[in-house]
Symmetry: C2
Subunit: 177 residues, 2 copies
DNA sequence: AGACTAGTGGAACAGGCGTTCAACTTTCTG
DNA sequence: CAGAAAGTTGAACGCCTGTTCCACTAGTCT
């Protein structure tokens, strides 16, 4: 039996390797493509390694998505709160970082069915709220919803939108008509 | 071999039964829960029936989600374009019709990975655009994104939001600050 | 009536799955 | 150094999967 998740141990490196291999599988094939065996193949370790550190598939999935959401929220911290910068962030999320963004939204939907994933799914929402400071809460909710919607609609467009096309919409959302 | 999808035939009733059974499975267990066998069980027909009418699982899934999206878009047609009515629609979608709405968003994410599903996924977006008439396109995109975001965030809330709480946010989105 | 097609359904194949087990090596601890 | 704990691994169990095959019935045409 491995030591409990929080405690440090010798196998920390492998733990991380498994986690990042899982994320790569999710990005490539979606949550549906995650199995002990597919993750083990991707990480180049035997199958039993993944079950050793994460007893069930659920544990593995939850650990991966939680960690990924933390990283994504952290990366949003760097974005200046100007319409142009936010538009660029959205364009990148649907373009260069498309796989990662897809993983994030698979987390959303999984969270809708599994309460234990909800704090992780809401992390970037609450981060945004914190960054925006104590503004008008109604406007804040509208902006948050708008950005989420722009992101998800960008994912199902035939071509990822360009930052310049997004910018006026983001501007309208953030600054008001 | 069954007659091609468009042509009428004797087995039309069963076709519909299989489709609606599939939708029930998606609502209950998500897209991941759909298999020839689980659908056949739900519909009370032998396993081979589902493969007879929909040769592959993909065919079945695509037919189901497309049909469901059409129904959902049609139901939105009835909603008056006032903030209060739209807020009520969102609250119901995350409350009473939660399973159906979840199915809709699983379609979204599947569409991100499979281009053939994208027209169906965008159906309600383009319907909204048509209903709204030739307004300011920037505002239109902002409103559409905002409604999508409100919906998806409502799905990962611990309690579905009430229409009264949604109404000012919807109002801000639709009418501007 | 005979031929043909649509529809029905039981059985089976090969393959992937989650998970467990037991044997083994490495590393830490007293 | 001895013993415990942590880590590693191949093999295996039973289950579910997508799909195919084949035998069969019920309607529909000529």
């Amino acid at each position: 039996m491995p030591p409990p998740d929080g405690r440090r141990a010798r196998g920390d490196r492998r733990r991380r390797e498994i986690l990042s291999a899982t994320l790569r599988v999710v990005e490539r094939d979606g949550v549906a493509g995650v199995s002990h065996r597919s993750v083990a193949r991707e990480a180049g370790v035997p199958t039993t390694s993944t079950t050793y550190y994460y007893a069930t598939l659920d544990d593995l999935l939850i650990a991966t998505l939680t960690w990924s959401a933390e990283e994504m929220a952290a990366s949003f911290r760097e974005v200046p709160l100007t319409p142009a910068a936010v538009a660029r962030f959205i364009a990148d999320a649907a373009g260069a970082h498309r796989g990662r963004t897809l993983a994030e939204y698979e987390l959303y939907l999984l969270a809708a069915r599994r309460p234990e994933l909800r704090p992780a799914a809401r992390r970037w929402v609450s981060l945004m709220a914190e960054v925006a400071g104590p503004r008008d809460p109604v406007r804040l909710r509208a902006v948050l919803a708008g950005l989420d919607g722009l992101l998800i609609q960008a994912l199902i467009a035939d071509f990822p939108p360009m930052a310049e096309d997004l910018e006026p919409v983001v501007s309208l959302l953030m600054l008001g008509g």
